[in-house]
Amino acid sequence: MKLGSFLLKRLLLSIFVIFGLSIVIFIIARVVPGDPARMALGPRAPEEVVQRLRQEMYLDKPLPEQYFYWIRGVLSGDFGRSLVTKRAVSEDIKEFLPATMELAIFAGILMAIFAVLLGTLAARYKDTWVDSLIRTLSYFGVAIPAFVAAIIFMLLFGYYWPILPVLGRLSPGISHPTRITGLLTLDSLIQGNFVAFWDALKHLILPSVALSLGALFQEARITRSSMVDNMRKDFLSAERGYGIPERVIMFKYLLKPSLIPTVSMMGLDFASLFANAFLVETIFNWPGISRYGISAMMHKDLSVISAVIIVFGAIFVVVNIIVDIIVAFLDPRARLSTSRGI
């Protein structure tokens, strides 16, 4: 199957998935006990006002109709209004999403680099102290949830050893670069503002490490076992036997097949980063969409909840497609089947 039609198929599938997701979310949101209009206005608002809001929110119409109005709004970018911030949800998303995106991308880069590095080292020096060290670190790394790591970092770097900042995205006193992408590092670089760039970078380090820790070590283990498996495969001995130099064998013929399971996992992990970020965002006071969404859940701010879940779902889907593309590039056998599981 050529790459083009493969892509198209995945795309259609993904749209279907997102629609399914929106239906599920919608149903859950409407099934929840409680009157959204009443909750928005508070217990003391007069009944007529609440009734008017109900009509505005189409709450008196049958469910499928409500869904229709909602989807229509979503497709035109209108997610409704947040009960908490009292702003249009799309405004809130525009403000908070880049923060999480920056965090996730940075964490993703860390994951990609270190997982491959550690995994390759462990495979290359298999059964030596290097391997054992990495394996032990992996067990711990995987067992430490993001919020525990975050708390420990808070303790270590916030109080005992303040070499890295622990709160927010920029230190007070550093001026924000003007907003182009919303990614502070990128924006400040574009504008040549190296002070802000460096500061933003420093602020990124701890939260990204906390966020990526578990996934990083999991991926390192997969890389290692994948490499070890492939190292004993006949095709490597054959290639070596034909006189192909060792470095070509290592970096070309061993690496490519070994990366396949790793990349799949990395994609999944990266997509999850966005959602799992909320704990880290809360602890480090990072103004991201994850934290925003979770607080909406606490306050039963339905429009926000649905919007955030759709956004996450869409991100998930997009990342999965990209991963599928990369895997299809790496492993030709995968092009013949849609990704139906590991």
Binding site: I25, Y139, I151, L155, I309, G313, F316
Partner: protein, 304 residues
């Protein structure tokens, strides 16, 4: 020909039979498990957690502290011989509360797995058996939708929508858990389905029921068991994440994540209030992971 990369399911199967070969071969199976010291460490940790959780009221030094109890004279005591992990802001012994918190965590894990695994496995079996028909497509697409949501988000959404109790948290986690088993079993079932012995059974007129369960399922068991063991650790993690934000067991019943969150406010001076519950979480996950790995070595010796 049986692909040697497929897991060896005979041990897993024999676990299910009462007077089974598993116990007769205990020596040999134990050897496989214990080849790796880390698995033993995992087993010890897990056993410790389970036993202390079950016998919590009798073995903890201050069982009453895990309920409505306050002792404002004793708040914020650092770790000592009387209070191994110190006391919290209400004077309660943290060590005892941690042990009781394990109870909730384990119950959650057991319930979630008991509720999520059977339907998940069943769906995977059915989809795998009827592969490439509409049944397969429908089941797997629905599974994909559920998998398309970042797991934590779904759990949080559900838990938040409903009242924050342990029961609801369990429901939320269950809903997001079953698709993983469906996918796992589907992958195996669809490849086993094409093996000759299944086709033979089909041709000789065995009932679908028989084929599904006796032929296909029994050949998928090992990875399912392994995954279940490992999943206990992950459910504990998710449960802790949920209780960290207040969803799950409500105070005064202790929950690990909740204890971490409560104690975070008093950092760094009263560091023990956060660190010990946090370490407990890490220990639990570590233990189940190590044990799960050992289990995998024991059950899935398809690769030698």
């Amino acid at each position: 020909m049986r692909n040697s990369n497929q897991p060896n399911n005979s041990i897993a199967i024999s676990l299910l039979r009462p007077k089974s070969i598993f116990w007769l071969n205990l020596g040999k199976n134990w050897y496989k498990f214990s080849r790796n010291t880390l698995s033993i460490v995992g087993l010890v940790i897990v056993a410790g957690i389970i036993i202390s959780a079950i016998f919590a009221p009798w073995i903890t030094p201050y069982p009453k502290h895990a309920g409505p109890f306050v002792d404002f004279d004793n708040t914020g005591q650092p770790p000592s011989l009387q209070h191994l992990c110190g006391t919290d802001n209400m004077g309660r012994d943290i060590f005892s509360r941690i042990i009781f918190a394990f109870r909730g965590a384990l119950i959650m894990a057991v319930v979630v797995l008991a509720l999520a695994v059977p339907p998940g496995v069943l769906l995977g079996l059915i989809a795998g058996y009827f592969q490439n028909t509409w049944i397969d497509t429908v089941i797997m697409r629905i599974t994909d939708v559920f998998l398309g949501v970042p797991p934590l988000i779904l759990a949080l959404a559900i838990a938040a929508m409903l009242k924050p109790t342990l029961m609801n948290a369990m429901i939320a986690v269950t809903v997001m858990w079953w698709p993983w088993y469906t996918r796992l079993v589907y992958g195996m079932a669809s490849s086993v389905r094409n093996e000759y012995f299944v086709i033979a059974a089909d041709l000789t007129g065995a009932s679908k029921f028989h084929i599904l369960f006796r032929e296909i399922l029994l050949n998928c068991l090992s990875p399912v068991f392994t995954k279940m063991a490992l999943d206990v650790g992950w459910v504990i993690l998710i449960g802790a994440s949920l209780s960290f934000v207040g969803l799950g067991e409500q105070p005064p019943i202790p929950a690990l994540g909740q204890m971490v969150s409560d104690g975070a406010r008093y950092m760094p001076t009263f560091w023990w209030m956060t660190i010990f519950p946090a370490l407990a979480i890490v220990l639990a996950i570590l233990g189940f992971n190590l044990m799960g790995d050992g289990l995998r070595d024991m059950l899935e010796t398809g690769r030698e």
